[in-house]
């Protein structure tokens, strides 16, 4: 381990510019929440006498500032918490850990946890951090709090269709979002066909969405990053909390293992809507039919010393659907879900050098098992990754903040492999798993050129090796185990610039090039559990995304309002879709069914947000266009994607009515999604059939909906051990019938001269009230 440390330090010194500056000393430490002992991410730390010198705490609450000899006042600021000021006399390097307290148990509602002027001052573009307390306050479909649906309320983000938690960011596809849970990739974020996300809000500490300039430390996807961090567990006292809703319940327990040194958290959630119906189902022909999903999050951490800390976290979730038709002796079971595991070791190499080593595994599995008498079948697909990752934050002086790191991932892609047997005869599909090694490295520097100009410049390089076994359908060559089939290498430059106009406003510009070597192509309007991830191969080229963005940011101090306008233009190459006339066929390699094309997305996003006070919330508006084209689909005609929303307006408001009552509301108005219309009917075998028109050439009617929720908290600002609250939520409270899908219904006897054709529009989510009881118990 010592040699690793030596190499790393050597690397740092190669890049170090610290020698160019006068004698500086380092003040460094961790920022924690006093009540829970949780590390605080994104705390703004600046020097009171010279506000341009500042930094934010990293994902582990660590900060480091190099300052000249002498007296300084450090200010620690975080929305919802009173600022903490620390006077320091620097004559040596100083270790300074800070605990911040908001003084009350239930935190003030915040929509962004960072400094109110963070957006104006940082080089981040298109970044939104969402505090989980905000997510819990907002109205929720069937009472199930869902952070992915809250992200959908932000400008530039849309969903596939109503009620689903899939995300489409700035015109990117559903596979183009890097969804991380404690650094492990989550490949399928949805339960119940995507209607609920896999993230249990009780186990989540923080969520960050990056839709604009992706910093160099992120890669593997071309559209966005959704970085979710699990809570560490309260290391000061035992806490149990949970909730009982109409379709699911949650329970979380956390506490210290060794006070202030180590802690744990275990959180679980399970649905029971069909469990309740079991007594009725049991008396029918469908006895044995059920559906439920569950999640389990667990995490422990241990602080060996001030320099070393270990985190172990895991997530496991499953959807299980069973269907039985006893009269016909037919049964089918459909379990699927994700699992992740992360072991991280934080180590302070020096007072200004933070090192993190992570071992990560994650998988997504889908199975379908069924049979009738002698006939049985099973379908299995999935993806499994093993990764090792290291990151290093180096703060040589106030003008530079280096980040560097590397990640290597071994991927195993299992396509839909079918095994079936009928008596003594067995069948197996000929499709084989695929394997790949993905290696990435990055280096970036946030450079403060002067008090009005900051640059975040970075370079990421990525290498992907598709390895055997593989049989080429182009050259007919066969490749053995671990034999290199195809190699791709791309440099990925990233840059964003912040130019301050004055103390409260700035202009930013950014450029991002990103590549993506794993792909998910769905043949439906949304992603489905059976959709498979595939690697880049000789046939499937890596996706490349290039985004240009420019924005204006203004903090209106008088009203505490954060405002921004961002304009972006994105081009996407090697985009994938299924060929025309494609029908699922588990017997052939799905990569033979793809066609390759390109896409572009452009638009402007407007955001006005208030983060503090009794009334908080935001108004967002997006005007945008998202298009794709493929030579082999309608001869290259440019068509809008199904998630193209030219106009998208959202309003979110949260208001503290009284000390016991909070009210929240949200409103959405969006252009109707595009669809492929019926062009005509034609007769075959004297029955009507549909000829479809050009892809996505019509739109359903515009979408709009308003939700409202009231939360009654009995002992809100209290030190009592037990507190509880009731959340009353009404989804779509003015009962607008938004179309969800349409179907056609024919009645025909053509030769008798009878034919009627109806197109029926179905609205699924009309007014839906729900109620949830939440509770929290703490040891002291």
């Amino acid at each position: 381990m010592k040699s690793v440390k030596t190499i790393i330090l050597l690397c740092i010194h190669l890049f170090s510019l610290s020698q160019l500056f006068a004698q500086n000393y380092t003040v460094s430490g961790y920022v924690k929440d006093k009540e829970s002992g949780e590390s605080m991410i994104g705390v703004n730390i600046f020097v009171k006498e010279q506000k341009s010198i500042g930094i934010t705490s990293n994902y582990y609450g660590f900060y480091s500032l190099s300052l000249p000899l002498g007296k300084h006042t450090l200010v620690f600021s975080y929305i919802g918490f009173p600022s903490v000021e620390k006077e320091i006399q620097l004559s040596n390097n100083l270790e300074l850990d800070v605990s911040m307290s908001n003084g009350i148990e239930i935190k003030e509602v915040v929509v962004s946890s960072k400094n109110p002027k963070h957006n104006v001052e940082s080089t981040d573009m298109g970044n939104v951090e969402v505090n989980i307390e905000t997510v819990k306050k907002l109205p929720a479909l069937m009472g199930e709090v869902d952070l992915m649906k809250v992200l959908q309320l932000l400008p530039g983000v849309s969903s596939a269709s109503e009620g689903t938690s899939s995300l489409f960011v700035r015109g990117g596809g559903p596979d183009q979002n890097l969804v991380l849970l404690d650094e492990a990739i989550v490949y399928n974020t949805g339960h119940l066909l995507g209607f609920f996300s896999v993230f249990n809000s009780d186990a989540i500490k923080n969520v960050e969405l990056i839709k604009g300039s992706m910093p160099a430390e992120y890669g593997s996807r071309i559209s966005s990053v959704i970085d979710v961090q699990m809570k560490e567990g309260n290391n000061e006292q035992f806490v149990a909390e949970g909730g009982i809703g109409i379709i699911a319940s949650r329970f979380t327990v956390q506490g210290p293992i060794q006070k202030s040194k180590s802690s744990f958290i275990v959180s679980t959630r399970r649905t029971y809507a069909l469990d309740i119906a079991q007594p009725f189902i049991k008396s029918t022909n469908f006895a044995g039919t059920n559906y439920y999903f569950y999640d389990l999050n667990a995490k422990v951490n241990y602080q060996f010393s001030r320099k070393d800390r270990l985190y172990i976290s895991t997530y496991f979730g499953r959807d299980v659907f069973s269907f039985s038709n006893n009269d016909r002796g037919f049964k089918v079971k459909l379990p699927y879900g994700n699992g992740t595991g992360t072991i991280r070791w934080n180590h302070l190499l020096s007072d200004n050098t933070f090192f993190n080593l992570a071992l990560i595994t994650n998988n997504y599995n889908f199975s379908l098992l069924g049979g009738q008498e002698e006939f049985s079948f099973n379908v299995n697909s999935g993806i499994r990754d093993y990764s090792v990752k290291m990151d290093l934050d180096y703060y040589p002086n106030p003008k530079h903040q280096f980040k560097m790191g590397a990640r290597h991932t071994f991927h195993k892609f299992t396509p839909n492999v079918v095994n079936a047997s009928n008596g003594e005869v067995t069948f197996q599909s000929k499709v084989e798993p695929k394997f790949g090694h993905e290696t990435e490295a990055y280096l970036s520097d946030i450079i403060t050129i002067n008090s009005g100009l900051k640059v975040n410049a970075g370079l990421r390089v990525s290498l992907f090796n598709h390895i055997g076994p593989y049989a080429s359908s182009i050259t007919n060559d066969t490749f053995g185990k671990n034999e290199l089939v195809q190699r791709y290498f791309y440099p990925e430059p990233r840059i964003s610039i912040n130019k301050s106009i004055d103390n409260t406003s700035s202009v930013k510009a950014g450029f991002t090039l990103a590549t993506q070597y794993v792909h998910l192509v769905s043949n439906s309007g949304s992603t489905l559990p059976a959709d498979v991830w595939v690697p880049s191969t000789e046939k499937v080229k890596p996706q490349i995304g290039i985004q240009y963005a420019i924005g204006y940011y203004k903090f209106i101090k008088k009203f505490g309002l954060e405002s921004s306008v961002e304009v972006y233009y994105k081009t996407m190459y090697n985009q994938l879709d299924y060929r025309e006339n494609y029908i699922e066929n588990f017997s052939t390699d799905v990569e033979n069914e793809f066609v390759s094309g390109a896409g572009r997305a452009y638009g402007a996003e407007f955001l006005l947000r208030r983060n503090t006070g009794r009334f908080t919330g935001w108004i967002g508006y997006t005007i945008s266009k998202t298009e794709r084209w493929f030579d082999e689909i309608e001869e290259g005609r440019v068509f809008p994607t199904t998630y193209d929303r030219p106009h998208d307006l959202t309003f979110v408001g949260m208001f503290e009515l009284t000390k016991k009552w909070d009210v929240s509301t949200s409103f959405i108005y969006a252009t109707g999604r595009s669809y492929t219309p019926i062009q005509s009917l034609f007769l075959i075998n004297n029955s009507p059939n549909i000829e479809y028109g050009p892809r996505n050439s019509k739109r359903i009617e515009d979408y709009h909906r308003a939700d409202i929720s009231f939360v009654y908290t009995r002992n809100k600002n209290t030190t009592k051990k037990f507190t509880s609250s009731w959340a009353f939520s009404i989804y779509n409270f003015y009962n607008h019938k938004n179309p969800f899908f349409t179907y056609t219904d024919f009645e025909s006897n053509v030769l008798k001269g009878e034919l009627s054709a109806k197109e029926i529009q179905v609205s699924i989510f009309t007014i839906i009230p729900s109620i949830t009881w939440n509770f929290k118990w703490k040891a002291k």
């Binding site: 659907f321 075959i684 034919l755 054709a757 009309t766």
Partner: protein, 311 residues
């Protein structure tokens, strides 16, 4: 396997049924330039039908169609030719109104329809003289001229993979007293792609294809394969407990056919297109082998089996 989407659909239906509501909508008419549709088959077998073709044109999406609308969609006066190498056979147009009752019944049988159900004076193009003698491996072309439009298509006559044996077993699960399940085995030909379609006629009735009537041999290439055959049921028929089973005491005719890949793709996409409904379903375009139009020109190599269902 493709029913996976349907099971998912059942699942969400249960969850949301109490909230959903339906409304009929009127899509705008986009059929301003109707296309011509060919439906023509060339058949080889022990009870092969003569080659015939129906030429229609596309209809706009209206809520209700009059007899006149439907009648207008059948094209009369077209020139329909079947070509093989240098041989050309012109199909003769036969319109129902001009036929004697006996001839009408014969033509109806060719079309697989009940003569009593015909109210429209439709016209069919038929190889009345049985001049076309289909042979395995031959490729046939169709050439249709309607007004100034020329439509064409190609198909080839495949090998027949006959059924080796049939037998009946009690229905699975809770056995039904009056019905049996039909099993059969085939020996798929190795090292070639084989495509299958079957039809069932009960008593003297007409042949019906099940709503999923085609399969390829991807999962049993070159193997002896045992499977069940479903009694034909159209998508519009109600699903009841005896769906797919055969009534004891009935006599059926099973028409078992092989077809080429383009012909299989047409029926496969058509049948999936008809079932592809629901919130997560994507549309499927029906794959046609007709140039300048829609529809199918397909060869069938069939064998008809008369089977008595045990009492």
């Amino acid at each position: 396997m493709r029913k996976l989407r349907d099971y998912s659909f059942i699942l969400i239906l249960f969850s949301i049924s109490m909230y959903s509501c339906e409304e009929e909508i009127s899509p705008e008419d986009t059929n301003s330039n109707p296309k011509f549709v060919v439906e023509s088959y060339i058949e080889l077998g022990n009870e092969a039908l003569p080659t015939y073709a129906l030429i229609t044109k596309t209809l706009g999406f209206y809520s209700k169609f009059s007899q006149a609308d439907l009648l207008q969609s059948f094209i009369s006066g077209a020139s329909v030719k079947i070509l093989h190498n240098s041989d050309t056979v012109k199909l003769q147009e036969v319109c129902f109104a001009s036929l004697t009752p006996d001839l009408k019944e014969s033509v109806a049988k060719v079309l697989g329809i009940d003569v009593d159900s015909i109210k429209l004076d439709i016209c069919v193009y038929v190889d009345i003289l049985n001049s076309i003698k289909p042979q395995i491996g031959n490729t046939y072309e169709i050439n249709v001229q309607v007004d100034q439009t020329v439509l064409s298509g190609k198909t080839s006559m495949p090998n027949l993979v006959p059924i080796d044996s049939f037998w009946f077993e009690p229905t699975p699960g809770k056995a039904l007293d009056s019905f049996l399940q039909l099993f059969c085995t085939i020996s798929d030909l190795p090292n070639e792609k084989n495509f299958y379609r079957y039809f069932v006629a009960t008593g003297d009735g007409t042949f019906k294809a099940n709503f999923q009537s085609v399969t390829d041999d991807a999962f049993f290439d070159g193997k002896e394969f045992k499977f069940t055959l479903q009694n034909a049921q159209s998508q519009d028929d109600d699903f009841n407990e005896s769906y797919g089973y055969f009534k004891k005491g009935d006599t059926i005719t099973l028409k078992w056919c092989n077809l080429d890949e383009a012909h299989f793709n047409f029926w496969n996409t058509l049948e999936v297109s008809r079932t592809r409904q629901g919130p997560f379903a994507n549309y499927v375009r029906i794959e046609s082998n007709i140039k300048n139009g829609l529809g199918i020109f397909g060869a069938y190599h069939c064998k008809n089996y008369k089977i008595a269902i045990p009492k």
